[in-house]
Amino acid sequence: MGPISLLTTMPEWVNLLIAFLIGTGFGFALEQAGFSSSRKLAGMFYGYDTTVLKVFFTAAIVALVGSQFLSYFGYLNLQLVYVNPYYVWAALVGGVIMGAGFIMGGFCPGTGISALSIGKIDALFFLVGGLTGAFLFAETYPFIQNLANSHYKGPVRIDEWMNLSPGMFTLILILIAVFLFWIAEKAEKKFKRPEISNEI
């Protein structure tokens, strides 16, 4: 029964080896998705390439449905899986800053790592910027810790918040995703641009 590392005793090095292997799979999947290309990623925001939306929602739904099935058949205790805490203002302000960084740099941290691993120099600059951003955050923390910690709501779950069962919410999310995929396919036709795959 999972989560394995929480329910069995294992040496720390095994836990870290698992982390390394999962990271290897993560890096492989991101690169295969085409996320090592900033122009492909930025296409999301101009409509000419919506790979981001398709990969992102498909992945979230696979993990969501898979974990609920594992839980239903008794293979995974979902109570023990980490649920992100909700800080009202930190999520909003942080999210808006991240979006600005996304459109300037063309990467998010994970896709930047993916691009650097195949040799993209612009991704190296993005990640050096990322390290600088993490350093700036650490040094400015005393000034923004009130914002970072205000309006803490705990690890709230959206199905409980909307008073739905997890299965019902998942079904609604799948319907929303299918609708978004349909829009995405339309957008790619409407905002089609000259083939750039030989440039990326």
């Binding site: 492989f28 696979v62 930190a90 996304f102 300037m104 195949i118 991704a123 050096v128 390290l131 350093f135």
Partner: protein, 164 residues
């Protein structure tokens, strides 16, 4: 690779992180740990006196031997293997033909500063907060996803010359 197929693969990786380790994926956290470890190596006194840095060394812990740091290290190997597999390993600056290399690199750097600063504030980036958060139905995950993509759409007009 077909994006829906790549999404299934990514979803299965995320599911295995939940099953084996009881947590989701992450990326910006790995960068934070690299910074914390570097600052400690250069200026240990600053780390001891800082409320922010010192918490990463409590109970004999070290920021480079934790789950997320090793996961991010693995990402480089996985990306490299995928690039080798698909014949995409080359050193290059990818950019729109309409802008100069230095402009691309400057905005890539600035984008990195903004993104990871925001990710520290929001306690996770597209991977750790948005994707992993959505997979465990967390409100924070769904909202962070909407905020990141919404904000990028809003700002996209100002930066259109970089891309189209």
């Amino acid at each position: 690779m077909n994006p829906y197929l790549a999404g299934i693969m990514l979803g299965l990786v995320l599911l295995s992180a939940m099953f084996f380790s009881g947590r989701g994926l992450g990326a910006s956290g790995g960068l934070k740990y690299a910074v914390v470890a570097t600052v400690e190596a250069i200026h240990p006194q600053h780390v001891r006196e800082s409320q922010y840095y010192s918490k990463y060394f409590e109970n004999g812990e070290h920021p480079l031997t934790n789950w997320l740091a090793l996961e991010v290290l693995g990402m480089f190997l996985g990306g490299f293997l995928s690039g080798a597999f698909s014949g995409r390993l080359t050193f290059k600056i990818e950019k729109s033909p309409k802008i100069s290399n230095s402009k691309r690199l400057l905005f890539a750097f600035l984008g990195g500063v903004f993104f990871v600063y925001g990710a520290q504030l929001a306690r996770g980036c597209t991977s750790g907060a948005a994707l992993s958060g959505m997979a465990v139905l967390s409100v924070a995950g769904f909202l962070t996803m909407i905020y990141i993509f919404g904000s990028a759409f809003l700002f996209s007009w100002f930066f259109r010359k970089l891309w189209i």
